[in-house]
Symmetry: C2
Subunit: 291 residues, 2 copies
């Protein structure tokens, strides 16, 4: 269901897991435009060039690239520098911008305050896809297939551009949903950032007590449960900093629930414990049935 | 590597996920002994009989069953009643007992205090296998394949019986490891019971804020991460009660780690956060590489 034309040129800024997966997908579907890349590590860009994922072997001028979509796939706190760098290559003043960053409000504030000349052409996006593995070598063409990409339009965005960017994500195999930046950051603080905080803390607490015996008896499920604690530290540090307030609120909420269950366990209140567990199971099961 | 003879008769007490999976496995490998079942729900036993998993359609006398292994696959706090019920059927005074319960110390105390006449023939076991789904209908013959079964021998157990029970688990496809009851309960409080506590608390905190939107944007990973909050409430209530002290200690440890990370996030201390995440990732990755 692509109702708009594709872009003639695509520039992927940051060829890690996400940027690399976009490049591999575009190659896989024989995207009709030209694909360019940028990365702060020149060896990564060279590798992508050698794999024929991008047309350029080194930093390229953007001069003359018409109908250009520039996609930022950097850690959140590297975005400003990456954007400044891209703008120094003087892309057309009709270039369209999007991103894949995991937090939205801080990015939007930055655009409005320091990059107002391009803010109206910047359509914020967040593909809900990832892995605890990072880097181009772990990227996959199918990363976005049937995953949701959240689009967070802001007031100055033009509807036609929003539709073009949404269609681009659909071409990558993704479904799209709309959320405001504020809603996005609130929801993902709870459903994604908080589980990462918990997983890091759990893994730390286990290793501090069990050391090398941590996984000795687990048989797989603890590995699964702590998997996201092997996520990229820079990426997640940036998320924890940039979505600070929402994450702290979500930790507070979680601590309250944990305290409630802990008290029931302390009191050995068997009826109340079973009721607590049953209510949660029922909520979860019926919520997933209805999907 | 089975060095001992199999049992001529097997009685599975509790035909839920675990007991049912044992029965299905025994059928699958054409175990040379006869398989009997008991369940507090007579319809479950009848179903197992109709599926030719067990030889008996209803409660059976154990009189005359030689070389009998009795396996308790009940929730922890139903064990005492199940054992009393089995003993009322007067199994041979050479019958061997084992179990699949997730906590060991409370079971051992019960055996020593109230069932001392059979305690020396009771070899405590815990197959580290399960699912958030419960009941005979969800049981699988392959549930134990390549999973660890922990055997927790106690002082009065005879080595030959320990070996026979360990070999039984190997016949089911399992690996076996030895841990004392005390070590078992300490380690599993951390690596299994704590993640369940956390998952229940996380799921509660998400639903209390996001309601039916909880899974709307997750695309799979939150479903995975909260999966164990759909576990059987009775089974987990019993674990939380019977391994109370160890679980409370493990929650305390986790809360300390969570507080430490929360403080770093509150201070927006980017260097310390990244260092924290990197240390955990490194510990986890190198621990799993060495396995």
């Amino acid at each position: 269901m692509n109702n708009t034309e594709g872009f003639k040129n695509i520039l992927i800024v940051g060829l890690g897991l996400i940027g690399g997966s976009i490049a591999k997908r575009l190659k896989y579907i024989s995207y009709p435009g030209d694909i360019y890349g940028l990365d702060r590590d020149s060896r990564v860009l060279k590798g992508a060039y050698q794999d024929t994922l991008v047309k350029n072997e080194s930093v390229t001028s953007l001069d003359g690239l018409e109908d250009l979509l520039i996609i930022f796939c950097t850690p959140v706190l590297s975005f400003k520098e990456a954007l400044e760098s891209v703008l120094s290559f003087q892309p057309s003043d009709k270039a369209v911008f999007t991103d894949t960053l995991s937090t939205k409000s801080s990015t939007l504030e930055l655009l409005n305050s320091e990059f107002s000349s391009i803010a109206n052409r910047f359509i914020l996006s967040h593909p809900i896809a990832g892995s605890e593995r990072s880097g181009l070598q772990n990227s996959e063409e199918s990363l976005f297939t049937n995953r949701i990409t959240v689009i967070s339009p802001h007031e100055s965005n033009d509807n036609h551009l929003i539709a073009r960017v949404a269609d681009f994500w659909k071409q990558l195999g993704s479904l799209t949903k709309i959320l405001s930046s504020k809603e996005h950051d609130d929801i993902f603080a709870k459903t994604s950032h908080l589980p990462h905080v918990i997983s890091y803390a759990l893994t730390q607490s286990l290793f501090s007590k069990l050391h090398e015996r941590t996984f000795e008896f687990s048989g797989g499920s603890l590995e699964d449960y702590t998997r996201i604690a092997s996520s990229d530290p820079e990426m997640w540090k940036d998320i924890f900093i940039s979505n600070n307030e929402n994450i702290l609120k979500s930790i507070d909420d979680f601590e309250l629930s944990l305290k409630e269950l802990k008290e029931l366990i302390k009191r050995q209140d068997d009826k109340a414990i079973e009721q607590f567990l049953l209510e949660i199971k029922t909520l979860r099961d019926s919520s997933l049935e209805n999907e």
